[in-house]
């Protein structure tokens, strides 16, 4: 087990560095820079600014400096667009927004998805099964940028029940629509995965054994079937995290939330290099470490999985 964790770390850390390097290279290779936009600065001022941020140095020195301050101090420098604000500060300020929406959406998706999927599996080929699977297919097919505005149209602009956008602090009514929009597709995926997993498990020998030895149906389902049937859902956590991140980009833009995703798009459209590298590095680190944790959790949960 320890060897497995060490091996995963040995893969994860270089991957993070590769992601940062790719981003850095793309930014440096692309024509133009932050100052080549519409508001042209006088050459002398631009020269001073470039000197200040170290942009006049040769590329290997810039790369070395960027990587060193990330690896050594976890410091991403100062934003160009939001003058005087450090990238770290922007990240720590916007992270709670994204995290709140993302985590709530994932929990909602898990609860509803597992419930719907289990019931569909238990009543296979019933009307309820067909209806919930058609609904799940709809959830997978309706893009979140269509679902979100339609929810706003119905619940904010027609019924006046919920606020259409903006951040209103952590527990607030503003969160309801973004969370539903973000969770719809995961709810659908998790329902499908749960159904498939449960169907397979319910037919397996150990469930027959559990029933044969006289366990109550409740015990069979909750203690035995659910544990095995949810393995696909656990292994989906990794990809789900990655998709949640891209989902939050869209949801934060639709609902005007000041989260990481919004800053990420803002930074890439404005060529705010330090902020962009900072956010990409931060996302890559979170994502890859989460994936590693999911793999390790998987090995603990399923005794049949063995890693050398």
């Amino acid at each position: 087990m320890l060897r497995f964790i060490i091996r995963r770390l040995l893969v994860t850390i270089p991957t993070i560095l590769v992601v940062i390097t790719i981003t850095w290279t793309l930014i440096k290779l692309a024509p133009g820079n932050f100052y080549s936009g519409e508001k042209r600065l006088p050459p002398a001022i631009e020269k001073n600014i470039r000197e200040k941020y170290g942009l006049d140095k040769p590329w290997y020195e810039q790369y070395g400096k960027t990587m060193w301050s990330i690896v050594r101090h976890f410091d991403f420098g100062t934003s160009l667009r939001f003058e005087g604000q450090s990238v770290n500060k922007i990240i720590w300020r916007s992270l709670p927004v994204s995290a709140a929406v993302g985590i709530l959406a994932y929990v909602l998706a898990l609860v509803v998805g597992i419930a719907v999927g289990s019931i569909a599996a238990l009543k296979q080929n019933s009307r309820w099964d067909y209806a919930s699977m058609a609904l799940a297919m709809l959830g997978i097919s309706v893009p979140n940028f269509v679902l979100g505005p339609i929810l706003v149209l119905v619940f904010s602009l027609s019924l006046y029940w919920l606020p259409p956008s903006r951040w209103g602090g952590f527990p607030s009514r503003n969160l309801i629509l973004p969370v539903i929009t973000l969770s719809a597709i995961y709810m659908a995926y998790i329902a499908r995965l749960t159904r498939a997993g449960m169907l397979e498990v319910l037919r397996s020998d150990y469930i027959r054994t559990a029933r044969a030895k006289g366990l109550s149906e409740k015990d069979v389902l909750i203690k035995h079937a659910l544990r095995g049937g949810l393995m696909p859902v656990v292994s989906y956590t990794g990809p789900a995290l990655a998709f949640l991140l891209t989902g939050t980009v869209v949801v934060e833009r639709i609902f005007a939330l000041p989260g990481l995703g919004n800053y990420f798009i803002e930074a890439s459209l404005n060529r705010d290099e330090p902020l962009l590298i900072g956010i990409v590095a931060f996302i890559a680190i979170t994502l890859l470490f989460m994936n590693m944790l999911v793999d390790i959790a998987y090995a603990f949960l399923d005794p049949r999985v063995r890693y050398q």
């Binding site: 992601v19 930014i27 940028f145 269509v146 459209l269 990409v280 996302i283």
Partner: protein, 328 residues
């Protein structure tokens, strides 16, 4: 784990008399069998019909509109007396009923129906091209890795693992925003490169797995014994046998790629005006959601319906071609 469609001896014999060469006997019956099973699946048939209708409408629609009403998807009316900006569906310039703009017009006065159909052209085109790239690169990469095996296989699949673990949408967003092209066509090409370069990874894994389980079977041994070269074994003997899962996965890749394209276009990084895709049309529509909701609803619903149908078709194909394969 070799998925196999069992055929009864009578059926196989009956097929034999129809087929001209012995090589195709099994193939014909497999496809015919799968086709029969697909037709039994009502949702899959519904999906197939909708996909065909939307594809045909996207291809022919803009031409028909140009013939009947005389405007193209990017036509902006300049005549001041007829400035039909953001008109509701089925309404003429004076609010009377009219067939001219069944989906209304957008902010600039362009016909929404023509734009939705053109958007369909581009969205489907992007989906199909990226899937073709994933087919060509993914299938050959996976088949070669699986057949050659050993250290080369290790190396090739390690590369796939690394690429797989990259948060690729993030990298794609950086790529598209950094190398923003001034022309819509240039941006579209960039989009193709970005989507095509990542879509082949899963395909490579699937094909490699299939080839691994196939390559030790007798027919490969027989081929090798009769002196067939390695490339010929890979592409003539192994790849055709992986077609079932490959087709299923390719069908499910199309809606995924279309969704990614729409997502990027929605963020303003993909297809740009005067070209239209469902994602960019939805992005325009969101701006006006409070006043002109149909500008979002028409492209959004068309896209959702297409993805819905493609997903059902993919699921149906999976059940038909490979009843044992169960993934999401």
């Amino acid at each position: 784990m070799e998925p196999e469609i069992k055929i009864g001896p009578e059926e196989a014999l009956a097929e034999d008399t129809h087929a001209e060469t012995g090589e195709f006997v099994h193939g014909t019956s497999l496809w015919r069998d799968a086709w029969r099973r697909l037709l039994k699946n009502k949702l899959a048939v519904f999906g197939l019909i909708v996909v065909i209708v939307i594809t045909l409408a996207s291809i022919a629609g803009p031409l028909v509109i140009k013939r009947v009403f005389g405007f193209t998807p990017d036509y902006i009316p300049t005549n001041d007396t007829q400035l039909v900006r953001s008109f509701p569906p089925f309404k003429g310039p004076n609010g009377e009923f009219s067939w001219k703009h069944p989906m209304g017009t957008d902010n600039a006065g362009r016909d929404q129906l023509a734009r939705v159909l053109q958007g369909g052209q581009i969205s489907l085109f992007v989906g199909i091209i990226a899937t073709l790239v994933s087919l060509i690169i993914g299938v050959s990469y996976g088949a070669i890795a699986g057949y050659v095996g050993g250290r080369i296989d290790d190396l090739m699949m390690r590369l796939v693992d690394v690429l797989y673990s990259l948060p690729y949408v993030i990298v794609v967003i950086v790529l598209l925003s950094m190398f923003r092209s001034q022309t819509p066509r240039g941006q579209l090409t960039l989009l193709f490169v970005a989507l095509g370069s990542v879509s082949w990874l899963t395909m490579a894994r699937i094909v490699r797995g299939q080839v691994l389980s196939l390559k030790n079977q007798e027919f490969v041994l027989a081929a090798r014994a009769t002196g067939v070269t390695a490339p010929r074994i890979i592409f003539r003997h192994l790849v055709p046998n992986t077609l079932g899962p490959v087709i299923v996965y390719a069908t499910l890749t199309i809606p995924q790629v279309m969704l990614t394209e729409a997502f990027l276009s929605f963020l303003g990084l993909g297809v740009q005006a005067p070209l239209a895709s469902w994602g960019s049309l939805a992005a325009d529509g969101v701006q006006n959601i409070a006043i002109f909701p149909w500008q979002l609803i028409f492209p959004g619903v068309t896209m959702a319906l297409t993805l819905f149908s493609l997903n059902f078709l993919g699921d149906g194909l999976r059940d038909a071609l490979d009843p044992q394969m169960r993934t999401t």
